[in-house]
Symmetry: C2
Subunit: 542 residues, 2 copies
């Protein structure tokens, strides 16, 4: 068997791997780059499918689907590839259900649920505390965060148990954790949670669909196009599908990348698959044990995503936005839904069954799961929800060469002991994938940033090419921890006014509530609160 | 390539795999059993080596080395194989160093360190609380433990931060965690910690070398003999070394066990390797995602074990036992040492660099690490420690087909969501290894119990053999969770008197200390304490 010779082999044809290849090709068109992918398609954790719709068929994303205006890396790529974005529909009443199956289903029109004053105050003070902590986090090297060991030694659950006052807020945070990570608050390091929020510009950025936030825009035609267009640029002949990498062996001269049928020789390898899958590859020489210990303890989220198409967006006609938020106590299988009507007007809803709820529901038959989803939609949006055109779902835990979605998190005690091995090259092996990003880690934007950073490493160290000033700055910004605090002046500017208004709101609500204890005027407070704090309410959303 | 046909293939020739094979062979001598092992030796996490010693050479264990009188499974096996045990030497003064490099080095002769009264009271109340919790734990199904979700949502670190009063006790618990698991308290679920302690009969059982405890006896000639003798019984022709299993494929008729060069067909497979290595095998059909999520989050401990041989046991001559306990703040690389003088009188010390300290020290050259170890020994035992015969160390993180030692723990949030998949067979695949044990989980005893349990599963389900009443009870005891509470009446009897005396001690010391605040009689309290509580002191040891 004669081994093929390439300059660079990229493991994984997701957004990170293809971005890396594209970046390298742009800088050096003569470079021979091979991309190996286990799946029979490109796109990794993004996949776009055609589904029966009101107007024949249309395309929907069953994986990553949103981008936001502060996600500069992916937006630049979208523009470069000639794709377009459109805003997430969020007008009308949203549904909010917490506190048990028989509790009242509330609706609200602003961006914050109609929480009781006590719960809102609780949320406000937690948000203030978390944002203050985020302002101290060093994303590039979280172990340099003040009090890092303490923050990394507890789970998100522990922090919330200690600092939240109300059961309802605790349920809301569980829902946030499931929606954002597909993971329960008990499984995640609190420092990791802070790092992740900071990399996005703050906690609210993860949760909202307002400008600058994670759920702001969608891509016309679907997100898998990003990878397909990149493969066009890189050349499909350089992308081998159905070729899972089983081993990477290095000697003084070569890296040898092994699949079930072939061996490829190259000067550099970029491994982009999620950490729990990168851990399954056989490395010789063995990876440093620091790296092994790290990837042994980075669980991936569990999400079942569903799309339901309808003849009309009946919820819009009834004044609903399509957004439903349901706590785990409500017996509703999903944690959140959104309007997913296509740019061509084909009506649809999208929703997520996540975390512990995904573990519970995945064991059921698809029919039972579908009926439970529809029955909840009928409960929240009306009987029209039962008359759907098509129900499609994807359990990412069962997807080969993904094994979960949307992201791998870190269990407690990793960031402070083993984190440096996350991005540190090992011989000819460089690490990418959204988990290695320092901006919008876990998102498509992070995947692109990580791919480009790994490409820069390869350019600098393998091709011995001179990086531009801009490229040097980009690389230094991620690698050079000393300059980390200088990197986020804008995020601090964002935090401080939020923090100030939030603390003022907290103190005011607190004072009013204390008064209420003596005057039994809860109704009056609610009224007062609704009027006085609407500007602050607009800033908050769960 | 023609595939060989066997009845049962066992993956891993450690104590668990060989016990399973031995048990099957005893019940059905005609059964064709093949054991595949990646290493070039049997024994897994036990390995016995010949080292230069005072009297030529002698044998020492570089892996698991201790057994205890309540470890019925391994003791029965030791007897059956004609091996002998001898007690761990623990006479004389022990060294105890906590609270920073310049703090006073204390020595003590009883089984409990000379703690200050406040720290002792702190230790007493923590022990009381933990033992009370242990008495409620359901080892077979920890999710059935009262308040399981809460206990599983926090790390051991969080529990100790909340319930320990003194910095010294917190350092002691860190040391315990490192010594027992090779893991920091921040990396482990508190419920897992409780389950592990309960499976051993209580927390003190893990820590002491007194009767019934984990460090009670050693095996003459070393622990690897267990596996070697088992291989003798099973037949070395049925053990293939250097044959790592890369894939297990199942269809309606067969399980196909794949190595780099061969495929073996069989009716049942017993996978015994540690969970993080079992996760690297390619399974078709894919394992249930519950199982994948579980093994993604079970980090293995990090331990570097060293043996130093001497001409004479000079420490004994000076009145030392050889036991040194040193906190991570002391700049001492190891956390604990013991006398390791062989039954033939060849003097030696054994010690462990573990957890975060192992991560720190593994990056140094062996010479630097050795010098740091020796310099600490000189500090604690005297200048004679510098004149050694031989220094041997083993970093288990660097051992192929182990990747760590002594055991895989569980990060928070696993026991309550994913635990059932730990032992649940998947088609023809049965799971063993000490991590799957319900008695002395993590120890050699657990490895034997797990191997025998998996063998019983195979006998019952694959060979359709009738199990004896005793075998049925054994299997039911592990599988049938309803009977779990009935299974440990003796442990409750053990806990209660300890708890009572401990709480009385706590209250008395507390009262005396409260008095002291008013009378400034700390010295008198120390005296009082030393005289009055010596019977209780004997019960406690760190």
């Amino acid at each position: 068997m004669t081994a093929e010779i390439w300059d660079v082999v990229v493991v994984g044809a997701g957004l990170s791997g293809l971005s890396a290849a594209h970046w390298l090709k742009k800088r050096d068109a003569t470079m021979k780059i091979l991309i190996l992918e286990g799946k029979d398609r490109v796109g990794g954790r993004t996949v776009t499918v055609k589904l029966p719709a009101a107007n024949d068929v249309d395309r929907w994303d069953l994986g990553g689907q949103w981008v936001g205006s502060t996600q500069t890396h992916v937006l630049k790529l979208i523009k470069e590839l000639g794709l377009e974005v459109y805003p997430q529909f969020n007008m009308g009443r949203k549904v909010h259900h917490m506190g048990g199956p028989t509790s009242k289903v509330r609706t609200y029109k602003t961006s914050i649920p109609t929480l009781s004053p006590v719960v809102l105050m609780d949320f406000t003070q937690i948000l203030w505390k978390i944002d203050r902590l985020c302002a101290t986090v060093c994303v590039q090297d979280p172990s340099k965060t003040p009090n890092a060991e303490e923050l990394d030694s507890m789970t998100l659950h522990t922090y919330i148990e200690k600092h939240a006052w109300t059961a309802e807020l605790k349920e809301e945070i569980g829902l946030c954790s499931r929606s954002v990570f597909g993971i329960e608050p008990s499984q995640m390091s609190f420092l990791f949670f802070l790092m992740y929020a900071t990399a996005a510009g703050g906690l609210l950025k993860l949760l909202e669909s307002t400008p600058g936030c994670a759920q702001e825009f969608k891509i016309k035609g679907g997100t898998q196009q990003l990878s397909e267009c990149l493969a066009d640029r890189v050349g499909w002949k350089n992308v081998r599908l159905g070729c899972a990498v089983t081993a990477i062996w290095q000697d003084a001269e070569w890296a040898r990348v092994v699949t079930a049928t072939d061996t490829f020789l190259c000067r550099a390898v970029i491994v982009t698959c999620p950490p729990h899958l990168a851990a399954k590859i056989n490395y010789q020489p063995a990876l440093p044990s620091q790296r092994e210990f790290l990837t042994q303890n980075m669980p991936v989220g569990h999400m079942i995503k569903f799309i339901i198409t309808y003849k009309t967006a009946f919820w819009r006609e009834k004044g609903f936005s399509g957004e439903i938020v349901a706590g785990s106590s409500t017996e509703c299988p999903f944690c959140v839904t959104f309007d997913a009507t296509s740019p061509f007007g084909n009506a649809a809803l999208v929703g997520f069954i996540a975390g512990q709820q995904a573990s519970h529901w995945e064991s059921k038959e698809v029919g039972e799961r579908k009926n439970a989803v529809l029955s909840s939609l009928v409960k929240y949006l009306g009987p029209e929800a039962a008359s759907f055109i098509h129900y499609e779902e994807k359990d990412w835990a069962k997807e080969d060469y993904s094994g979960g979605c949307p992201v791998n998190v870190m269990a407690p005690g990793l960031l402070t002991y083993y984190h440096p091995s996350l991005r540190k090259p090992f011989g000819r092996i460089h690490w990418a994938g959204t988990e290695t990003a320092t901006q919008w880690c876990g998102y498509m934007d992070g995947a692109v940033q990580a791919g480009q950073r790994a490409a820069l490493e390869v350019l600098a160290e393998v091709s011995h090419m001179t990086l531009t000033t801009e490229e040097q700055e980009e690389l230094q910004c991620i690698q050079n921890v000393k300059s980390a605090s200088k990197q986020r002046p804008s995020s601090k500017l964002v935090y401080l006014p939020t923090s100030k208004s939030v603390v003022i709101a907290t103190l005011t609500i607190g004072a009013v509530l204390l008064l209420a204890q003596h005057q039994n005027t809860v109704l009056k407070i609610k009224e007062y609160f609704t009027n006085a704090f609407s500007p602050i309410k607009h800033k908050l959303l769960l």
